[in-house]
């Protein structure tokens, strides 16, 4: 018998009585506030920031003020910002390694945790989200869902082949418990509310 058949047969022989363990109906629990204010409040403790964009500023200008160092490689995946390199010019993950800043639009956000959702539909090159040093995320306030329960009703989580909820930048506390923002993935994650 194959390992598969052996495992399944053993499980069927050893399983507790299924009738004694019914599956509860899914429920939407907890706070249902889906406001941008709640999103922002919960993004900050995760280490994320809101991009400071003045009313008279273009997105490019706000990003230039946030990342003032000259000569940065900026990849924009959105029409609202120009950037210095096109995603078409990054055919492989290895080519994406020198990217400093990536600008991308999230499919949706989660107010409970300040998370944003990205998939291959937004990223085109999934590795870019993790190789880039910094990330600026555009989020339509109308696309904020209240919590993790409502998030899993979103169609994107059922259809994307790769779908990541990023909640602030990468982080670690593996050395003597000291929290470090910017571990191995993005060093910073800034969100900018931008209606579509």
């Amino acid at each position: 018998m194959s390992a598969r058949d052996t495992i399944l047969a053993t499980l069927r022989r050893n399983s507790p009585d299924p009738a004694a363990h019914p599956l509860p109906e899914p429920a939407l629990l907890g706070e249902s506030d889906a406001s941008p204010e709640r999103f922002t409040t919960n993004l900050i403790p995760m280490g994320g920031t809101m991009l400071d964009r003045r009313p008279d500023e273009t997105l490019d200008q706000a990003i230039a003020r946030r990342f003032p160092k000259p000569g940065l490689m900026i990849c924009s995946l959105v029409p609202e910002a120009t950037g210095t390199v096109q995603i078409e010019d990054l055919p492989t993950p290895q080519a994406a390694e020198p990217v400093d800043v990536t600008i991308v639009r999230a499919a949706f956000g989660i107010a409970e945790t300040g998370s944003i959702f990205l998939s291959e539909a937004q990223l085109h090159l999934n590795a870019l989200a993790h190789l880039t040093q910094h990330m600026v995320v555009l989020l339509d306030p109308a696309q904020i869902t209240a919590n993790m329960h409502t998030a899993y009703l979103r169609p994107e989580l059922h259809t994307a082949r790769y779908g990541v909820l990023m909640s602030g930048p990468s982080a670690t506390a593996d050395i003597q418990g000291v929290l470090i923002r910017g571990a191995q993935g993005v060093r910073s994650l800034s969100v900018c509310f931008t209606p579509r």
Partner: protein, 472 residues
């Protein structure tokens, strides 16, 4: 071959003797426990989340074969190769075959307790494959050739100076570096080129979903997503018990996992893999390694509900003061003490005793595993199977005889009180009395309860006391 039981108490004694490490370890884990409590208090629905998580897991385990088949069907439809491994050796062989078929010589991987169970790294090293752990804590443990000491924070027993010493040896950094930021940056810089040029990537999986064929990886550092998306091959190793029926169930578990583990509302990355990215391949290896047998153990099958958050370890006074390595097993702490004996009953026969049975582990468990009751149950099983140290066995044997005979018991108690008052220390504190190693024996009393009772309640007949009357 008979393996010697792990000397947990001996290893714990060594750990306790090192005060700086002990103090940090104890405080760090208790801080995680307190952060978990703070998160719990923010959610009025916390207990309902726990009840639901427990019910969903019990349902999934009671129908595990069906859900595994459903997952396999959907994952295959999405283009994922699904493999089945009965044990660690089979798992390792499958990984080696996937790598060999693609001529892959370098593998980057994120943290996975199942691959630790299977001892994958040494298997692949013997076959010429270079395996690099990319999680910071796991990498530290790999470089130091130690097992992870905690399932969420693998190097929590180390101080900054320990990491500085290890990184100096392997990365050429300053051996006196005392800033964790500097050391974490060294890891980032060392890992990047390895990640960029790796032939294959590997992750574990926290959950997988039967309904959609998705698996989910919850991490903080970004290394798992790098390992999954940069190389052209992604292999995910997952224990068969990690299945949930529906996408909607993930809402319950994601809300509980990081809050229970680190006291953060969610991990920085919650990544859903439903199929390979363009031009890449994706493999899932479903690992049994004793789980299907454990499902048939009436008293212990619910340990399979575990989502590996580590909350039971953070709260456990014994774990916090003995360190994960003292358990001598892949899984340490309270959860380790109830699942390790299913892997090797003799070797891990001492671990269910590494507990005061205070029940805190059960109280914090997000999926409501009755951990402390299983610890107690394991002690009974081990006694029945004669897996008990000689002194403990003889003492229990004598105590059993004594307590079964009231007259003999009373005579012994009277004798004990005399002995406590008169015997020299060397007669009271020795290898026959492990309890007295770190504790003072009680002061002798002038009168036993029994003689007091006889004196004050002359009418009552001993043995016919209605103790239930005064019991709340």
């Amino acid at each position: 071959m008979k393996e010697k039981p792990i000397n947990h108490a001996g290893a714990a004694a060594t750990f306790i003797a090192d005060k700086p490490h002990l103090d940090f370890h104890d405080a760090r884990l208790w801080d995680m426990r307190q952060k978990r409590d703070a998160q719990m208090h923010l959610l009025p629905e916390w207990q309902e989340l726990r009840s639901r998580a427990s019910a969903i897991k019990e349902h999934a385990l009671a129908n595990l074969a069906d859900y595994l088949e459903e997952f396999e069907r959907n994952a295959k439809r999405n283009g994922i190769h699904v493999h089945w491994a009965a044990d660690g050796t089979e798992h390792n062989r499958i990984v080696a075959e996937i790598l060999a078929a693609r001529g892959a010589r370098t593998l980057i991987k994120s943290k996975s307790m199942v691959t630790e169970e299977c001892d994958l790294r040494s298997y692949l090293a013997a076959r010429g494959v270079t395996v690099t752990e990319t999680d910071l804590g796991e990498r530290i443990q790999q470089l130091d050739d130690q097992l992870p000491s905690h399932i969420v924070v693998p190097s929590v027993h180390k101080l900054t100076e320990d990491v500085a010493r290890i990184f100096a040896r392997h990365y050429g950094t300053d051996p006196n570096a005392d800033d964790p930021h500097q050391l974490a940056e060294a890891q980032r810089l060392a890992a990047r080129p390895v990640i960029l040029h790796a032939d294959a990537g590997m992750t574990g999986g926290n959950f997988f979903v039967a309904e959609t064929g998705t698996f989910v990886v919850c991490t903080n550092e970004g290394n798992a997503d790098l390992s999954a998306t940069v190389p052209g091959v992604h292999i995910a190793t997952i224990g068969i018990e990690r299945v949930v029926p529906r996408m909607a169930d993930l809402g319950v578990f994601i809300r509980l996992l990081s809050r229970s583990a680190l006291g953060s509302p969610i991990t920085q990355y919650t990544s859903h893999f439903r199929g390979p990215q363009d031009g890449s391949e994706m493999h899932v290896i479903l690992v049994d390694n004793g789980r299907s047998a454990r499902l048939g153990m009436d008293d212990f099958w619910t340990s399979l509900k575990c989502i590996r958050c580590g909350a039971c370890m953070n709260t456990c006074p014994v774990y916090r003061r003995s360190g994960g390595l003292s358990y001598g097993a892949v899984y340490s702490g309270p959860i380790g003490a109830i699942i390790d004996p299913t892997f090797n009953e003799r070797k891990y026969s001492t671990l269910p005793y590494a507990s005061t049975l205070n029940g805190s582990c059960t109280n914090v468990c997000p999926v409501k595993i009755n951990i402390h009751e299983q610890l107690f149950k394991w002690r009974q099983v081990l006694v029945e199977h004669h897996q008990m140290p000689f002194v403990k066995r003889e003492i229990m044997h004598m105590a059993g005889k004594l307590m079964g005979q009231p007259k003999l018991y009373r005579a012994a108690i009277a004798g004990t009180e005399t002995a406590l008052g008169t015997l020299p220390r060397f007669a009271l504190y020795n290898w026959l009395n492990p309890w007295g190693k770190n504790r003072e024996l009680p002061e002798p009393v002038t009168e036993t309860f029994h003689s007091w009772y006889r004196r004050n309640r002359p009418a009552a007949k001993p043995g016919k006391l209605d103790i239930a009357e005064n019991t709340p």
